[in-house]
Symmetry: C2
């Protein structure tokens, strides 16, 4: 398959194949984000939900359930749960990161205030927990509530690891497993649990979501530096300015000589950043090949995601998940 | 019973009667707030949990379960759940209110940062949801997840009602039912559900918690203006400065003549506050008797709380809950 074929299609093919289910998910999301008493809630939520995220996570749940033969109605509730948890974390992330833009629009904390973002996020978390009780399945509840704790833990870990040059690749993996992969793997796993998939299939679904989430976040962190092409674009360097220790930087710090280490210490640890520092950081990452190395690591995880799928029953949606893993890293190949 | 007898005893008597259970609750709280990967979490949580809140809400759950004859272990999990939800909302409230002090100590958002307060709060919410799945009881899950949504909704409603002079007593009741009473009533109700209490007893427990929570918050709002004694103390006027429409102000606005209304509009709606304005506000509340009227409303709710208890089986803990309702308003009698 050529790169062009993969550049846009897997996600759209998934959306097409799951169109009926996704319609039900979107209707449920609209219903549950309503609030009789506090109209600020649907205002804020609609701003974010209707900004057109890709709805990747709910589609993972729907696909997992369908591949394992599920025919009941509750994959819709769990897909909406997963999207609510995701949206709540976005609202809180924007407060934490003091972001001004999300999905090309001003963030809720900018349009309203931090208070609204915190409290509406809490409301969506609570709604997510209400929704996840609907299938009356205790294992599903355990998986999703555990994922919520792991997500928050990952975010706190990222907060304390920021600005710390001694952050290792292990810590980085821990952070992105928490902040990103935990929801991907929970999304796929609960689809299987709902369908009463056997242990092997359930583990395969978890492994797929876990590896896909890790690849996804590595690519995201790479694109924050413009990808391997090493060209500064308009959104390049947000992580650099926030002094986040992502994989390209961790690898560059590990390979640094004394002068380079002093540079990293100044810009990341001390936060003393001047004009030209981002260019210098990218030159050092290019010199040590850390952007390419990050891309290669992401490809390995995408390959692991695809390998996990082989334990699942043959299904057109399984093939789309396979293509999706490929597509996630195709952006930076 | 004289006021002196009641001034400190009901809460302490409850704590004594429930000492064994509360020890188990505290051990569970310590265990569940630990985090292998993110030591910031127990740091922040311990700061708040060990600052010595009264643990009123978990004691309500324990007492409700015991009164209805519960003998299993899970009232401890639900009591810890309730305290975690409460602690999470405190962390987020302090971010929302930009508070500097809580329980006589600097707030977490001041000691660490808003980011930590938001994310550690999220972690505690997630832990609460994990804990509430332990009894394997779907009705308990429904009640507690619903309460979490109502709490967030109440907080958002308070945010949008702030600075709005047209806020009615109905809206105020809605706000405090959400932000305070919802957790009280859920705390008592789930104790009964766990004990498989009959419908009448369960409703009585809900009604007690609901009315107690409302009385509790009314007294809190009254004490923010120094109580009915109309004396400015060191903590007087926080709500005034934050331009919150609490009951004493709502009643004063309703009784205001044209000049007074202009005053309220300037200090609350426009937020243009000068030296002497708090004194002027308190003089207007005294003139219209709104502090005494707020106290009387709180006493009526406390009486309702006590009346609800009569549908419960006779039990020493029931008598302590009766005294507790009396004590909550005794602070301002």
């Amino acid at each position: 398959m050529s790169l062009d074929d993969k550049a846009v299609k897997p996600h759209d093919r998934l959306a097409q194949a799951l169109a009926g289910d996704m319609e039900a998910v979107n209707a449920l999301i609209r219903e549950k984000m309503a609030s009789k008493h506090a109209p600020r809630i649907p205002e804020v939520t609609a701003h974010l939900v209707e900004a057109g995220g890709k709805r990747l996570r709910p589609m993972l749940t729907l696909a997992a359930a369908r591949i394992c033969g599920y025919n009941g109605p509750y994959h819709v509730h769990l897909a909406a749960t997963v999207e609510f948890i995701h949206t709540a974390t976005l609202l809180h992330d924007d407060v934490v990161d003091e972001s001004a833009q999300r999905r090309g629009r001003p963030t809720a904390n900018l349009l309203w205030d931090n208070k609204s973002s915190v409290l509406v996020g809490d409301y969506l978390f609570a709604r997510a927990f209400q929704l996840m009780t609907e299938p009356d399945n205790m294992r599903v509840l355990g998986i999703l509530s555990n994922a919520s704790a792991v997500i928050a833990e990952g975010e706190v870990l990222q907060l304390t690891a920021a600005q710390d040059l001694s952050t290792t690749e292990d810590t980085y993996l821990q952070v992105i497993r928490g902040k990103t992969a935990a929801l991907f793997s929970a999304a796929t796993q609960v689809g299987g649990v709902l369908a009463e998939a056997d242990e092997t299939a359930e583990k395969a679904l978890f492994d797929y979501g876990d590896a896909l989430g890790i690849a996804f976040q590595m690519v995201d962190d790479l694109l924050d530096y413009g990808g391997v092409t090493d060209v500064i674009g308009k959104n390049t360097g947000d992580d650099f300015r926030e002094r986040k220790l992502t994989l390209p930087v961790i690898k560059a710090v590990a390979a640094a000589d004394q002068t380079e280490r002093a540079f990293w210490s100044r810009v990341i640890e001390k936060g003393d950043q001047q004009d030209g520092d981002l260019e210098q950081a990218m030159a050092l990452m290019a010199k040590h090949g850390t952007l390419a190395a990050t891309r290669d690591a992401a490809i390995l995880w995408a390959d692991q995601a695809r390998a996990a799928l082989s334990a699942l029953p043959a299904h057109p949606l399984r093939d789309m998940l396979d293509d999706l893993a490929d597509y996630v890293v195709a952006r930076v190949r």
